[in-house]
Symmetry: C2
């Protein structure tokens, strides 16, 4: 009985996710869903990313949180638009919440749609939002056993960002173990060690993002300055 209900919710979510996917495609934005535990550094990474993409490439951001608009406020300065979805009691975003937020956004004017999911290492991996790519963040302070313990999201990852990499060597963290555990779950997924604070790995991350935009959306930035 309970399982049937969950299946129904998931199926309804998939229908809306597919509609979102069509909207993103038509608008020519690369939609990226950022998933991690609370405190892995999603917002800080997005602050640095939206800043680095300017002035050529425009970011639109949708942020999911139980409550508060703090992340949206932090992301506003370098984004074309920011929408905050307050999920109340829900530990992940649903596709229909993203769909509702799209009415207020000028997707046609953006190059990227960054969706910052609720901080949670489990459920966000199960709910398709219609995004092109899922980026999973794991921060060094969380520990090297988290891939094996929370396999769901690593199985669906298009990229793994090992964040707060400046703490490698300072905290007890077996990088090889993490790489092995990721490879077991998702053989070909790329992993980038990144520090939003220090800047290490930022260039590699931005290049990955831009190449994916090129692959998926297939044309140059909408407002690229002419050279």
């Amino acid at each position: 009985m309970k399982i049937n209900v969950v299946k129904k919710v998931l199926k309804a979510n998939d229908i809306v996710a597919n509609e979102n996917r069509e909207v993103f495609k038509k608008a020519g934005v690369l939609a990226v869903n950022f998933i991690s535990s609370p405190g892995s550094g999603k917002t800080t990474l997005l602050e640095k990313t939206t800043e680095a993409l300017l002035p050529d490439q425009k970011s639109i951001v949708v942020v999911g949180d139980l409550q508060t608009t703090r992340d949206a406020e932090r992301l506003a300065p370098n984004s074309l638009q920011v929408t905050q979805i307050n999920t109340g009691m829900s530990c992940h975003l649903y596709a229909n919440q993203v769909a509702e937020s799209l009415d207020d956004l000028d997707l046609d004017k953006g190059d990227y749609l960054f969706i910052e999911n609720v901080g949670n290492m489990v459920c966000p991996g199960e709910f398709d939002l219609g995004e092109n790519l899922k980026v999973i963040l794991l921060s060094v302070p969380e520990g090297d056993d988290k891939v094996a313990k929370y396999p769901t999201i690593f199985r669906v990852a298009d990229l793994v960002l090992l964040t707060k990499s400046d703490l490698l060597g300072k905290l007890n963290f077996d990088l090889d173990r993490v790489k092995e555990d990721v490879a077991k779950l998702n053989a070909n997924v790329k992993m980038i060690e990144i520090s939003s604070q220090e800047g290490d790995g930022m260039e590699e991350w931005l290049n990955w993002l831009k190449s994916k935009r090129h692959d998926c959306v297939g044309h140059q930035a909408k407002f690229a300055t002419e050279e």
Copy 2:
């Protein structure tokens, strides 16, 4: 429709939680539910806690994880018994999962039942397991904005442990802000700064735990060595 289903699940959970509560009371154990994000240090804290309580006070541990038995293996050395509950896709423990695990445990012989929930800052706060106390861990690397962003679990906390406190001063973390945010949600809850690595705060934590056991269970350790 969807809300009704959730309510039904919650109600069924509460019935089983109340049954668990009776079992714990009859057995004379203090049941403590540990809730936090992945990587906040629940397992390390429990390793140190079960070790410190020995030889006078016996711990029984139930560990919830999506998969793997790593935490159970880590906790076995200093515990009377350890049971691992693999939740599969669920991001929190249900009362009936705890109830099922009790058949294999000699609660009568234990002083404490420590329940390590699945790493998640949202849903575990909504599902009563029948425990006497909820202890919420927040680690310094997660950041000082997490109380405001994930208020649900702080509202129901009987104690907040600020873990990895040895990183205070090394990472950007506004302790006063955290204290204020906690006080807004849960005026009288106690907070202890603790470092499982360095030992700071351990004595205060153990004293709190022992006093709560005394208050709730009302008698001395079952196997206290005679003096």
